[in-house]
């Protein structure tokens, strides 16, 4: 692996237009919220440095590279160019827009189709229900509906490596996560009200790191030079480059 990249974790954010993908990213990366984001055309990405706990308990610094995408279905075919090498996919819906919720499954399937990930069964997804700040009367998606969907989506992805490594995670209910023993974590967020965003992205980063290391472990035996995304996370303290190639 001659391409000694920085430790980059690639995150793809998908969801219908107007659900708040750009706002969530801006809230997380730049700690700000405005209503001034125009519809995203094509794609864009932001980066953020963070420190993570590695599966072995060591500390790792990584750069999250968060790819923002256009929300209209029409641009799906462009995804092939951006999805490649993703480590985690975040699906966003708007709690005041049931349609955006119903389409989550389609977004997930399209992602798996276009990204060509090597482990579609266990590839990590995180679901965010955004705009939790709005009045309850305007919410169209109930918590139960959301839970049912998670169960359904988790069933269709047959627990593989992902489940094995993330079964131990527990999140307290007051932090808004509905993840229990399910494969796909769900967070209720508000980019505007700064609710749960930081927390959700930490989980995203953690999942991405797992995926990244999983990829690394499988590609060690792979001669595919091109698979430059299976980069290695340098462990602080140990100072060992786990990629010995």
């Amino acid at each position: 692996m001659s391409d000694r990249r920085k430790n980059i974790l690639k995150i793809i954010i998908l969801g219908d237009s107007g659900v708040g993908k750009t706002s969530l990213i801006q809230r997380y990366v730049n700690k700000k919220y405005t209503q001034q984001y125009k519809a995203t055309i094509g794609a864009d990405f932001s980066t953020k440095e963070l420190e993570l706990e590695d599966i072995n308990g060591g500390k790792a610094t990584a750069t999250l590279q968060i790819w923002d995408t256009a929300g209209q279905e029409r641009f799906q075919s462009l995804g092939v160019a951006f999805y490649r090498g993703a480590d985690c996919c975040v699906l966003v819906y708007d709690v005041t827009n049931e349609k955006s919720f119903q389409r989550l499954k389609t977004w997930r399937d399209d992602f798996l189709l276009n990204s060509n990930v090597s482990n579609p069964e266990s590839f990590p997804f995180v679901i965010l229900g955004n705009k939790m700040d709005v009045d309850d009367s305007k919410k169209q998606v109930t918590t139960k509906q959301a839970n049912d969907l998670i169960i359904e989506l988790s069933k269709t992805s047959n627990d593989g490596a992902g489940a094995a490594t993330n079964g131990g995670v527990t999140v307290s209910a007051d932090e808004g996560s509905l993840q229990s023993n399910k494969n796909i974590p769900l967070f209720f967020t508000s980019a505007k009200g700064d609710l749960n965003v930081e927390f959700a992205f930490q989980e995203v980063a953690r999942k991405a790191l797992q995926q990244n290391q999983y990829q690394l472990s499988t590609s060690m035996f792979d001669d595919d030079e091109d698979f430059s995304n299976a980069i290695n996370i340098r462990l602080d303290g140990s100072n060992v480059d786990s990629c010995q190639c």
């Binding site: 209503q35 001034q36 125009k38 055309i41 094509g42 029409r74 462009l78």
Partner: protein, 647 residues
């Protein structure tokens, strides 16, 4: 007699008096199936009512020549109504015609065709578009349906479908503004038995030979068109034996002096092989690259000239002082101020005709306002919601669109996608109306609307028709198609041109998987509206827009993209990863639009010169029996980038 084409609403004007006009039909016919076609004029006075009715039906029948999917009207009267050659007012063999000039209608005159025979005799037939049913039908169709801005039919008039029909029968060579050459060598003239005038043409031949250099390209292009029509790629023999192809080859033979036969032989070989089209092959493009020899680099000296005064291009009554072609060239290569832009956009974008005046534009505006009112909005709720969501998010684009007063009251707005600003409400309606078709609304269209809206904030109708022109006349709607065909084609052309002109850059892009050029996708889709032009955003952006709206360069955006790539080449060469490249392009700053546009034109010429050199070189390979390089590696699509507007 077999009638191949018939056109109603044709007139002879023997005197200046209106009452002396002779009304009739232009027909093209063959005396029998194997005969060479003739062009005739038949006066209504010389034929029966029944025959007039029959010819009027034929007029409508031949609309199919201009509109491919036209539902043929059945001919109710039997086909065997025979027209006696003797009643023809004029009867001209296409073989005896030297040139035909198609004279477009102007503010004072009806359109007409001037036919000059090899015997130097001239005939003029006027085309009264307003009473020709077929012309009216086609015109109506063309204004409704999307069409190619570089097609000669841009400002459609009756001469266009006549030209089209003639082209099918006898390939014509463009020989100047609206002038087409059919035959150049004296032949026996067969008109009213008049075959006297057979001197001349020593001079003509010479001038044609001098013109050869300039006309050759259009002739070659014509040949390419023909061969595309008649062939599949493996069927060279069939092409060569095709009537039209033989005709072109014979024409080349005829217009060239004896001493140039050798050159001509090469040329013919070249043509024959050019006919054998293949899809552009990337590997083969590298052969063309060898002919990219112009080592001189672009040097930026000063901004482009500016046209400041509207009266430079407009007379007192509001008529354009310059031709369509000149107007396009001007918007393409000079800086224009906002007054001029305000005036010419609706013309270039097809809302008003090029020969309109203040008065006629005012009338047209009223007419279009009524039409606009009647336009339907799409019924699909999801579709309209998609528009609403994007329009809502335009609020930050300009002061004009702010949703509430300076004090930002988050609680009162947002989350309900509620439009309070009257401009946004208008924009929402315009977008709904302009997307009520099979492509529908796609994100990015709202971006295209903004610069136009800011030019005409109080004129919803003009905004609508200009946006429609941008989508359908300039052709940007293709970029929004579901199958991505438009944008993919743009990106492919960019890739091919970089491969030929900037091989070093292409090598780098391939290394970092940037050769799909998705990093310029946004620039093409929303026509640079999301780019950073520094302090004076609008001035820079509008220069790019003028270049596109001018309609002077085919796929204008790709030349701008190439210029941006060229300008930033040194930086790109240092980038190691696709994501870095992507980030760099998403944040790229365009400091000087003038410079970029000059580079665009420089690159266009560089490409043009390269292809010219390449084509001449290919002649050698083609005469070499052993050579395997008989196909044109460039391909039709890339070649068409060199076309210029026909008007």
């Amino acid at each position: 007699m077999k009638v191949i084409y018939c056109k109603s609403g044709c007139f002879l004007h023997p005197t200046k008096k209106l009452q002396d006009n002779i009304k009739g039909f232009i027909i093209i016919f063959k005396a029998d199936l194997n005969a060479f076609p003739n062009l005739g004029f038949v006066s209504e006075d010389d034929i029966s009512e029944r025959m007039i009715e029959h010819l009027n039906q034929l007029d409508l029948y031949f609309i199919k020549n201009s509109i491919v999917d036209y539902q043929n009207r059945s001919l109710s009267s039997s086909n065997d109504i025979s027209l006696d050659v003797a009643v023809l007012y004029y009867n001209i063999s296409l073989d005896s015609i030297n040139i035909i000039q198609f004279r477009k209608p102007s503010k004072f005159y009806k359109g007409s065709i001037l036919i000059k025979l090899l015997s130097d005799r001239e005939f003029v037939i006027f085309l009264h578009d307003d009473i020709s049913e077929s012309t009216k039908y086609i015109k109506n169709y063309k204004t409704k349906i999307q069409y190619n801005p570089f097609n000669e039919s841009e400002i459609y008039w009756g001469g266009e479908d006549l030209k089209k029909s003639l082209t099918k029968l006898a390939p014509m060579m463009k020989n100047g503004e609206n002038v087409y050459l059919l035959n150049s060598k004296p032949k026996k003239i067969d008109i009213f038995g008049d075959s006297s005038n057979t001197k001349e043409t020593g001079k003509d031949l010479k001038s044609i030979w001098n013109n050869w250099e300039s006309t050759k390209w259009s002739l070659l292009a014509k040949f390419a068109d023909l061969s595309v029509k008649v062939t599949d790629k493996d069927n060279l023999k069939k092409i060569q034996s095709h009537e039209n192809v033989k005709w072109v080859l014979n024409k080349i033979q005829e217009i060239t002096p004896q001493e140039s036969k050798d050159f001509l032989y090469n040329q013919q070989q070249y043509l024959k092989v050019w006919a054998d089209k293949v899809i552009t092959d990337h590997k083969k493009l590298s052969k063309i690259r060898e002919f990219e020899k112009n080592n001189a680099d672009f040097v930026y000296i000063e901004p482009r000239d500016s046209i400041e005064d509207l009266s430079d291009i407009l007379d007192d009554e509001g008529y354009l002082k310059i031709t369509t072609f000149e107007l396009r060239a001007l918007a393409n290569s000079k800086n224009i101020n906002s007054d001029i832009r305000f005036f010419i956009y609706p013309i270039l974008l097809g809302m008003y005709s090029f020969d309109s005046s203040f008065q006629s534009r005012e009338t047209k505006h009223k007419e279009l306002s009524l039409q606009y009112e009647k336009l339907l909005i799409p019924e699909d709720k999801e579709h309209n919601f998609q528009i609403l969501k994007d329009v809502y998010r335009l609020a930050s684009v300009d002061k004009l669109f702010h949703q509430n007063n300076e004090e930002d009251k988050y609680e009162e707005i947002n989350e309900e996608w509620d439009l309070k600003n009257p401009h946004l409400i208008k924009i929402n309606t315009i977008l709904q109306k302009v997307t009520n078709d099979e492509v529908g609304y796609v994100q990015g269209m709202s971006d295209l609307l903004i610069p136009i809206y800011l030019m005409y904030p109080d004129d919803e109708v003009t905004v609508y028709y200009c946006l429609k022109g941008l989508l359908d006349v300039i052709g940007l709607r293709a970029n929004f198609r579901e199958d991505q065909s438009g944008i993919t084609s743009n990106l492919e052309n960019v890739a091919n041109l970089v491969e030929i002109l900037f091989p070093e850059l292409m090598k780098k892009l391939k290394q970092i998987s940037g050769d799909n050029f998705v990093f310029v996708y946004r620039m093409i889709l929303v026509l640079f509206t999301r780019e950073n032009f520094g302090n004076d955003k609008n001035a820079g952006l509008m220069k790019f827009w003028d270049y596109t709206v001018a309609g002077f360069r085919k796929e204008s955006q790709i030349w701008i993209i190439l210029a941006i790539l060229k300008k930033h080449q040194d930086i790109i060469l240092k980038i190691d990863r696709f994501d870095e490249l992507f980030a760099y392009f998403n944040g790229i700053k365009i400091d000087d639009a003038d410079e970029i546009l000059q580079i665009s034109e420089w690159i266009f010429l560089k490409f043009f010169e390269t292809i010219k050199r390449f084509d001449f070189e290919r002649l050698k390979w083609l005469t070499d029996e052993d050579s395997e390089d008989k196909n044109d590696p460039l391909g039709v699509k890339m070649r068409s980038l060199l076309e210029q507007p026909m008007d």
